[in-house]
């Protein structure tokens, strides 16, 4: 088991190094340089700026310095916001994204499991059909459209009620979390509901459910103890990959709802070509996702020994 964990961790470390390297070299392939006319008015000023950000050194040396700093956990200074450390930006904005992401994941998992179970329970009847239509719609309508429509709905509802029921945008109390989290989690919820439904249908035809029925257990008891629990297993294993979907999906939702999360910051940094912030957030997000995958792999290895035997576990 320890060998397995070490192997997964080493693999994760190499992957993060690969992400960092790919990020570094693609950023260095960007045409032009980050200092435009307005910032570097004279050649002397430009030279000073280049020296300050270490851009006057050869690329290989820059790469080594970059890797060394990254190992120390130092992502450098923002290009557009003077004297602001990328680390500070991440520290300040990532918790916001994390709260939103966790809320979205909780909503998606709860909604998906309940929705899928309901659909399977009334298989081929109207609740099932309605659920499947909702699922297909939620998968097909882009998140930014759903976000915009949700915002429009909030505005109209607030207008109609005459007092603000829910905030339209921004970040603050718990009331700011619900709608963005729901919008963010909707696609995942649909996906999980579909998964839960087919898993539940398989369980419903299993022998142990038949046995339970023969024993005379009530429908509710069978549903709760035998069907729900067993059907949830494949859904729980799928939660890992959905973390990635929710993390990256956060960009747009944060942008539309004006939530000061890291995703919105990343999009802004790209629009302003703030190289250090782009590199820092990309590597940070990448490392975060890799770490999540590794942790989940290890957790599965602990729960289910069969996965370990398959070696890579991927």
């Amino acid at each position: 088991m320890i060998a397995y964990i070490l192997k997964r961790l080493a693999y994760g470390a190499i992957t993060i190094w690969f992400i960092a390297t790919a990020t570094f070299f693609s950023m260095h392939a960007v045409p032009g340089d980050p200092f435009n006319e307005a910032k570097a008015a004279s050649p002397q000023l430009r030279q000073n700026l280049m020296a300050r950000y270490g851009l006057d050194k050869p690329v290989t040396e820059q790469y080594l310095i970059y890797l060394r700093n990254m190992l120390r956990g130092d992502f450098g200074i923002s290009f557009t916001q003077e004297n602001r450390q990328v680390n500070d930006i991440i520290r300040e904005h990532f918790p916001v994204s994390a709260i939103l992401g966790v809320a979205a994941l909780l909503i998606a998992a709860t909604g998906g499991i309940i929705g899928g179970a309901v659909a399977a329970h009334w298989h081929n009847r109207s609740p099932d059909r309605a659920m499947m239509i909702a699922v297909v719609l939620a998968i097909s309508v882009p998140s930014f459209v759903i976000a915009a429509l949700a915002q429009m709905a909030i505005v109209r509802a607030n207008d109609w009620l005459g007092f603000p029921l829910l905030p339209v945008a921004g970040w603050g109390g718990i009331s700011h979390v619900w709608v963005p989290a729901l919008v963010l989690g909707l696609g995942t919820m649909a996906y999980l509901a579909r998964l839960m439904r087919s898993s539940m249908l398989a369980v419903m035809q299993s022998d142990y459910v038949l046995t339970a029925r023969a024993k005379g257990l009530s429908d509710w008891q069978i549903f709760r103890k035998h069907q729900l629990r067993n059907a949830m297993l494949p859904v729980v294993t799928e939660l890992g990959p959905t973390i990635a979907a929710i993390t990256t999906g956060g960009f747009v939702v944060e942008l539309i709802f004006a939530i000061p999360g890291l995703g919105r910051y990343f999009v802004q940094a790209i629009q302003q070509l703030d190289y250090t912030v782009i590199m820092g957030t990309t590597v940070f997000y990448g490392a975060f996702l890799v770490l999540m995958v590794v942790l989940i792999d290890i957790a599965y290895g602990l729960i289910d020994p069969r996965i370990r035997l398959h070696g890579d576990g991927r």
Binding site: T15, S26, V145, L273
Partner: protein, 441 residues
Amino acid sequence: MQFHADDFKALPAAPVEQMEALAPAPPLWRVLLADVRAVVALVVVALLVFSAFAGPFLWPQDPARQWLSQVSSGPTTARIVAVVEDNPQWQGALVQAGQLMSVSATTTSVKLAWPAVAGAAGYRVYRAEAGEGAGLGVPLAQIEHPWYDDRLQLRERAYRYTVVPVGVAPEGENELSRRATITLTPALTIGRFEAQLLDLPVHNGEVVLPAHPLGTDSLGRDMLSRVIHGARTSMLVGLTAPLLFITLGAFYGAAAGLIGGWVDNTLMRIADFVVALPFLLFMILFRVAMGIESGESGLFPMVLAMVLLSWPGAARLVRGQVLQLRGSAFVLSARMAGASNLYLIRRHLLPNVLPLLLVSLSFAIPQAIFTEALLSFIGMGVVPPTPSWGSLCNEGIRSMLTHPHELIVPAVAISIAVLAFNVLGDALSDAMDVQIRRGAQ
């Protein structure tokens, strides 16, 4: 042991499903065409692809042409409108007594005239929207003569005009001021300058304005032609990128599986690393890294980035199939019978792999359409003059509270396209299941 004839009579007939199972697997397209949703999805997909490529010929309006007098308008039909002078020097009309009155009120111009107030140094004209409380509203002008021609951003609604004489009474509204509420009729006019700009043939002082079946956007551009040209972008990215990366991945995976050994190991490790790259982040990063020259649409960098990041899925799939087939008894016996590699690939590998690739293609297409829309939405996709469904949504979202059609039209287009391809993919993989189940028995 002896048998009676009755023993055989008691044997039940084989169930129908078993009989069917023994029949050879029907061709994929037959299974697919028996499925209603697959047929509907196929028709929608065909229509989308057709409209993306033939649409600009069927609806030849230029998506970049701005109809300045019809900004953010709803659906309109073709109309004949009068050409009016841009800066007519209206001399006013004499009003003897009574209330403030309007001479004419259209969305081009509201001409007001009122009886002169003795001793007034001038008049201030205010405008408010009729439903907007009791205030004076926006000050429009201070003039000396008792008439005014309002041409400031007039919309089709009711306005309340107030004229306050200056120098005869205290500031603000007083007993000498005049007030009138006027409902504007939509103007069937176009300025001479705009008519010239748009190069419209003037006939008897009138021009024909073309229809805008889906209205216009906030810059006065025809929505229908923008959606059609956006469909071009979406279909181009949505079809070429998946085709390219699935082909690339298939060859890569086949090579890895056929060569085997350490080459296979290295190749698949590389694929693992590419899978680990956060997809959207690197799409954006590559797009920034590749840069866009002025005049380019940004389509090529997007397709390239998508291909670079998405090939490992197909590679893994094909490699798995190759390994499975290599170990299978029928390939082994074919090899012993002296079959060439080419024969094996043609006879055994392709028929087994192609349907799987078809299914992954049908799921990759909506994913690619989605990605394109998302990137264009955050401004990291195609560059503005090129319309794309994502960038149309981005433009529409700014005015969604006042003119929701600008958001809803492209949003519906994306949703229908993604929905159709998703349903088609579902139907395809279901049909494939039927085939595999039948084929296996």
